[in-house]
Structure formats: C-alpha cells, structure tokens
Amino acid sequence: MYCSSWQFWSSLHKGSSGRCPWLLFPFFTLWLFAPPPSQLSRCDWLCVMTRSDRVVNCSCDWLKSLDLSRVTAFSPAEDRFNMAASLRCFLRTGKNAVSALQRREFHRSLPAAVQVTVRDALNQAMDEELERDERVFLLGEEVAQYDGAYKVSRGLWKKYGDKRIIDTPITEMGFTGIAVGAAMAGLRPICEFMTFNFSMQAIDQVINSAAKTYYMSAGLQSVPIVFRGPNGASAGVAAQHSQCFAAWYGHCPGLKVVSPWNAEDAKGLLKSAIRDDNPVVFLENELMYGVPFEMSEESQSKDFTIPIGKAKVERQGTHVTMVTHSRYVSHCLDAAAVLAKEGIECEVINLRTIRPLDVDCIETSVMKTNHLVTVEGGWPQFGVGAEICARVMEGPAFNYLDAPATRVTGVDIPMPYAKILEDNSLPQIKDIIFSVKKTLNV
C-alpha cells in the first residue's frame, strides 16, 4: 500500500488543477490506512469525500459503463486511477467533472447511439418539455441559480429565466401547495423535492390536494403536476435522508408513481409524466445520476416517450423471474450474469412504473419461469415486493409457481451511517444470488 501510495500521489499531482498537494495531505493520510481496494466498490471512494448534508456530490462520470464480466476484484492500477480521478473530481466540484465519455450538448445532431448519464437524460427531458409547452415550469430548492442540488436542472435557468425556473425558500409544504394550486389553475408544474424524504413535510398536499381532487370533484378539477426528486438510499447520508417512498406513494389511488432505471427510462418516463394530465410522483435515484447508459437513436428524438404503466423485460430468462425497479435493476442484471455462468437463466423485469403496476408482464413471466424473486431497496413490510407477491397469488400465475415467491428488500431498520452497516442494510448482489438459489432450491 505504501509504494502504491507514492504512485497515487504522483498521478494525483499530474492530474490536479495546480493546487498544492501538500495542503490536502492531512485529508488523505487516512487513505494510507484504508482497507485493500479489492473489497471496496466503485462508489466507496466517493463516500469518503461526500458529506451527508445537502451539498452536490461529485458526479461519478469517471465510472466506465457497466461491464458485466468484471464484478469482483479490481486491479490495483485501476484503483489508483479511480482514487486519483475522484480526487480531481472533488477538487473541481462545482464545475463539470472530468469525463472520459462524450457529453451531449443541447440541440446538436448526433451519431446513432450515444452514452448519456441519467442526469443528462433528465435534463434533456425537462429542456424539451419546457420548450414544447409554455405552461410547463420547474420549481424547487436550488433549481435555478444553483443549477440544481444534484445538477439535474443545469443550464435551464440560463435558458428559460426566472419565470419558468423558480427557486423557492426551504418551505416544502408551502411550495408544494403553490405548485398544486398552479396546476389547478391551468399550468403544468414540475415540483422538485431535494430528496423525497423532504416530501414527507408536504405529503398532505401531494395526497389530499393533488391525488384525490380529480375524483372528489367527479372530473371537474384536474391536477397535471409532476413531483420529482431522488428517492431511496444514497451513500452515507444516514437514516433521515435514505427512505424509499415507492410503497407510500404507490399506496394511493389518484397518483401515478414512476421509478426509472437507466437514461432511456429517465428521459422517456419524465416526458410522459410531464405530458400526463394527472399527478405523477417521479422517483429518481441519486446514485444513478452519474451512471452513463447507451441511448438509442430513437430515444434521442424530442418526441420520445415511454408509456407509464408498462414494465420492460431487460433480460430474457427461463428459470426465475426477477422483478425490480430503479437502481436494483443493475444489481439484478449483475446477479443474472453471475448466475448464468452456473447455468441459471434469470428473467429480469424492470418495473418502470410502481403505480399502476404492470401485473400482466409479471404474470406472463412467472407463468413461463415458475419462480419469482422481487428485489427492492425499501423496507419489507407493506412494500412493493409484498404487493407483487399478493397480486401474483390472486391471479392466474399462482398456479404456475413451483416455490413461494421471495422478496429481497432493504433491512427493516432505519439506515445506519457507518459504511459496513450501510452496505449490509441494502440488498447486495450476493443476497440476490443467494435468494435465487434458495427459491430454485439449488
């Protein structure tokens, strides 16, 4: 570790923006005693640098796109490169981080398929919808002049101005009510919550003022609004900032609840949500913001939308159906790759929409594979997985099950802070693999 740290410092010095490295020395002495890199995941270095308050995290742009064949140990060289890159990233917080990949600009014609981060896809979706319909506007904390707490709305205020991109004070209940009122009066707001944890302060406006109104008024008063923001666990932000709200919002009639995974999902579903005449809760994931995905040519068009309420089969399989949403689609695909080496072919379904749930897709798959495993980050009790299991039991697919359905969920505790505790509070790839094998009884 000591000799590698020398190499680390030199690569850091080469890449740094001219600041004196020795000023940073105290911060990084701890790293000399850090655990061997092979046991840490890509995002771990990021955790060391980020703080748990509401400050923008360095984007993970330096991550390469998912390579399914390399799941476990990294090479020491790659680790040093990653450490140095993330430090450069940290030093340049506030400006665009170094990216080894192409970044799409607005309104430029492009080659066929391109790598786009989830953040940029969301940005594009909002930009295109703001341009398309004058009634659309964005409001939330730090969305305008700060370019967005997680930089999702970067550049929009410069382009559209104060009228369409509105910075609010830190008063969730107030500005959510204002957004809902504006929607009632004919506009189409996008209400951003810095994280969905803060939406709890405004949940009365979301449920009682937005979700129920069309029904209570028997169709006289509609509320075309989108509530969006990061949902679920982040990295090291502890209990009050890590709750998953998919089950809470998914419980309520009158709401549509959407949970995208990759960049295409993000763009297509956000565009659909904004064009929808109903209240839509759009659950993003902070850890996915910086992850690049390939976007097809079709998805780069300004009219590309994905219908709300339809799931997607990300990977075909024959032995077991894995139903999941958001970040855990990646985990399931990784687990499926590992299991494929052992001859177990998993079918991975990306739910895309939590409410209304695409039960038909799940049932068709279960009737083919005869086994069901649900994977989510939220708590198990009364969660998304619980609902899927209940629906499968009530439908025709039950007769095709060869084993009880299994739910892989977050641990039923408030999220702890310490790294090791946090890692073990959420489903890991090994947990998914274990559950699949148990379900298949192998």
């Binding site: 008063t171 069309y214 028997a218 006289l220 109903n278």
Partner: protein
C-alpha cells in the same frame, strides 16, 4: 298586469286630480336567484355574466311625478311601480383598521337599489339554504360533515360583489355560501350534500368538495387551501391575465405554518393574492384568545399589508375587497384582510355550539348585527325598497330552496358503475381492484 295598472292609474287620477303615469318595471328586476351554468357535464366553462347589477338603474325610469304619489293611501297600490324609491344612496361604513398601509378603503359606500336587492337576495338565499341543510341533516338525509355558514353571509356576498367572475376563489370547508356565489345552483349544492348524482360533484365529494369554474372548493384539510390559493395567484401572474385569487381561511387556520410559508412566497414574488381571514371568534370550540398569541389576524402577515373589516356589513366587505383587489392588480403584491364575523350554528352539525359560548351572545349578535337585517334596515330607512318587496323576495327564495330540497331528496344516488370513474384524466380505462380479488371494477376517465 296591464289591466291592473290601468285601473290603478285611473283611480289615482281621481284621487290626485293629475295625470299619473305608471310604468311597469317588473321585467327589469328579477325576483329569482341568478341562473347558474350547468356544471356537472363540463369543466372550466367560461363563467356567466353577473346578473342584474349592470342593468339600467331605476333612476332613469323615475317619472317627475315622484312626489305626487307619496301619500299614505297610495303606498300599497304602487308596490309594483318602483317610481317612488330612492335609486341610490351613500352610506357611512365603519373605518377599517390598517396595517402597513397609508390609507384604507373609503368610509362611504354607494349602494343602488338594484345592488341592494341583489345582495339581499344572495344573502337570504344562502341563509335559507343553510337552514334547509340544517333541517335535512337533522332528518338524517344529509350525513357526515356539514359546516354551516349562516351569520357570515355578508362575507360571501360582499366579496363576490367586488371581484369579477373571471377572478378566482378558494376557501376551506365552510364553503356552501361561496359555492352559491360562484355560480352553482342551489339544487346542485343540496343534491351534493345529500349525495345524489345531480350534485355538483355527482355525489362523490360531499359538503367539503364542491367545485365550479374559478372556484377551487371546498378543502377539508385546515390551512391547506392557502398555499393552493397562492399557487393559483402564481398562475394568474404567470399568464399575465390581471386576475386575482381570493384565498379564505378561518381564525383556527390562521396559526397554521403553511400559511406563513405561503405569505412568504406570495410577498417575495408579489403574487396577486388576497388572503382573507374570516374571524368568527371560534376555531371549532376554541375561542381566539385561547388559540392565538396574537388575535390581530390582519397583522399576522407581518410584512404583508393588512385590513381589519367589519364582516357583518356587506358594504364594508365590498369596499374592502375592492380596495384589496385594486392593490393586487396594481402589482403591489398580496394583502391580508380580516373579516370580523360570526356564525350562528356550531362548528358543524355535530356541535350544538353552546358549550363554549352562551346563548345570550348568539342572540345578541343576531339582534344587533345580523347582516341581512342590517342591509334590509338600511334600505328601508332610506326608502330604497318596500317591506312587501322584501317579503316577496323571501317567499320566492323559500319556494326555490324548498324545490331544491325536494330535488335533492328525490334525485337518485349515483349508480354503482360510477364508483371507480374519475381516478385519472384522459387515460384509457383501467381495472381497479375491488374489495376481493374477484371483484374487477372498471375506471373510466
């Protein structure tokens, strides 16, 4: 009618010895309540023009023989000819306390005969409708919540007189009066209370959830309507249509945190929002002194200018709302108004209303400051209308409310097929889970 007038004019000719001209003006004054647009089928219909008040005042039609007919014997005979009434009068109204304003609304208000009759009609209709709801509730034909508005009619009538139908209004659950002034027919209101398909919301909303074009309810959660109202004002500002939003809340809601959040943003962005606190002295069973550290609700906006208004005088309310609307429309930002008013009923029908206040207090307000009596006495003492006229209006309104109640009790309940409709707008039909897995219900937008 013509014959009668001829006979009368002949008789008068003999009595007075002069030529008497009697003009039949009955078609100019409608004695029934304003017609309401059909709301149940469509959404966002353009509001109907206001009734009556813009018609030619009777002043133009008064003959020069006004004084000739002012004899005791002739008073009964000329009850249908409006020639001897004062067309217009100016009244002194109570000065409003102001907060952060250099001057308040004017202390004199002009009332024309037509306006007076119109306000009387509106207030009397709301009164009778609320009393009919009370009756129906006691007969268990109305169930659940029923928050009655009698005693506070001057607020609804005065506010509506000062704003345009294209302006917006949102209030809390004591909403029947505003539902009426914003254009919904009495029978639709009562049918909604009784939960029938002819109700405003087809029986799905109930007492607290009635909607109309530019009227956003009817909100059950105390205080939630205030940020909504600020949002509606934001939409007005965004669209640049010179409209204002009147956002009402009570003395109980005045302590809600979300109100102050809304005040902050409304003042920051200069939203055209009139925040009106209807202070009826009791938040459910808690008097204002026991609930609020500061009972000067018009000052609670702090950096927002405020007015304290006598809410039992319809002219006071009208002048103050006019002042407030002008303030907002000129781009100066929001304004807070406190209307000091009183409710005769308890908080809701399950509250007798006498455990936290005395019957003497209620009686005193009824005898000294009843809004309808105040207006009526004003008009009578200034010879703007006759007692019989008011009696006729009362009879007509009673009849109308009775018919509406009849409709509300006889209309069928909504069909079960409608149970799951209106979950989403503009969506393809979807399946809704029923009480058990075999009950598949359909929802149509």
């Amino acid at each position: 009618m013509q014959n009668m007038l001829t006979i009368i004019s002949n008789a008068l000719c003999r009595i007075t010895g002069r030529n008497v001209l009697l003009i039949d003006l009955s078609e100019y004054v409608s004695l029934t309540s304003p017609a309401a647009p059909v709301l149940a089928q469509t959404e966002r219909q353009p509001p109907k023009p206001p009734p009556v008040s813009t018609r030619a005042p009777a002043a133009e039609l008064v003959s020069s023989q006004t004084d000739q007919l002012d004899r005791p014997g002739s008073r009964v005979v000329v009850s249908r000819s409006f020639a001897d009434f004062t067309p217009q009068a100016t009244f002194d109204i109570k000065k409003c306390d102001v907060h952060r304003l250099e001057e308040g609304p004017p202390v004199k208000a002009t009332l024309t005969r037509d306006q007076g009759l119109q306000y009387y009609r509106i207030m009397q209709t709301v009164r009778r409708m609320e009393l009919k709801a009370d009756q129906l509730y006691k007969q268990k034909i109305i169930r659940g919540f029923c928050h009655l508005y009698d005693g506070q009619e001057a607020c609804a009538a005065g506010i509506e007189a000062a704003i345009n139908p294209s302006d917006h209004l949102i209030t809390a659950y004591r909403a029947h009066g505003y539902t009426y002034t914003r254009g919904v027919a009495i029978k639709e209101i009562l049918a909604e209370l009784t939960g029938r398909k002819g109700g405003v919301a087809k029986g799905k909303g109930g007492s607290m959830h009635m909607y109309a074009p530019h009227f956003y309810g009817g909100n059950g959660i105390v205080g939630a309507q205030v940020p909504l109202g600020a949002g509606i004002a934001l939409a007005c500002q965004y669209q640049g249509n010179n409209q204002v939003c009147v956002t009402l809340y009570g003395d109980g809601a005045a302590n809600q945190g979300q109100l102050f959040e809304a005040f902050n943003m409304a003042a920051l962005w200069k939203l055209p929002c009139i925040f009106i606190c209807e202070n009826n002295k009791y938040g459910m069973g808690t008097s204002v002194e026991r609930a609020s550290a500061s009972t000067d609700y018009y000052k609670r906006g702090d950096f927002i200018p405020g007015l304290r208004v006598d809410g039992m005088d319809v002219l006071c309310v009208r002048e103050a709302t006019q002042f407030a609307a002008d303030h907002c429309r000129s781009g100066k930002g929001p304004i807070v108004m406190e209307l000091q008013t009183y409710r005769y009923h308890g908080h809701s029908m399950s509250d007798p209303g006498v455990s936290y206040r005395t019957r003497e207090e209620i009686q005193e307000v009824r005898s000294k400051s009843d809004p309808i009596s105040l207006l009526k006495d004003r008009m009578l003492s200034n010879n703007m209308a006759a007692v019989e006229e008011f009696k006729e209006i009362d009879i007509a309104i009673r009849k109308e409310v009775e018919e509406a109640a009849q409709y509300a009790t006889s209309d069928p309940e909504p069909p079960l097929e409608e149970l799951c409709n209106h979950i989403f707008k503009n969506d393809p039909p979807l399946e809704v889970r029923g009480t058990h897995p075999w009950a598949t219900l359909k929802s149509v937008s």
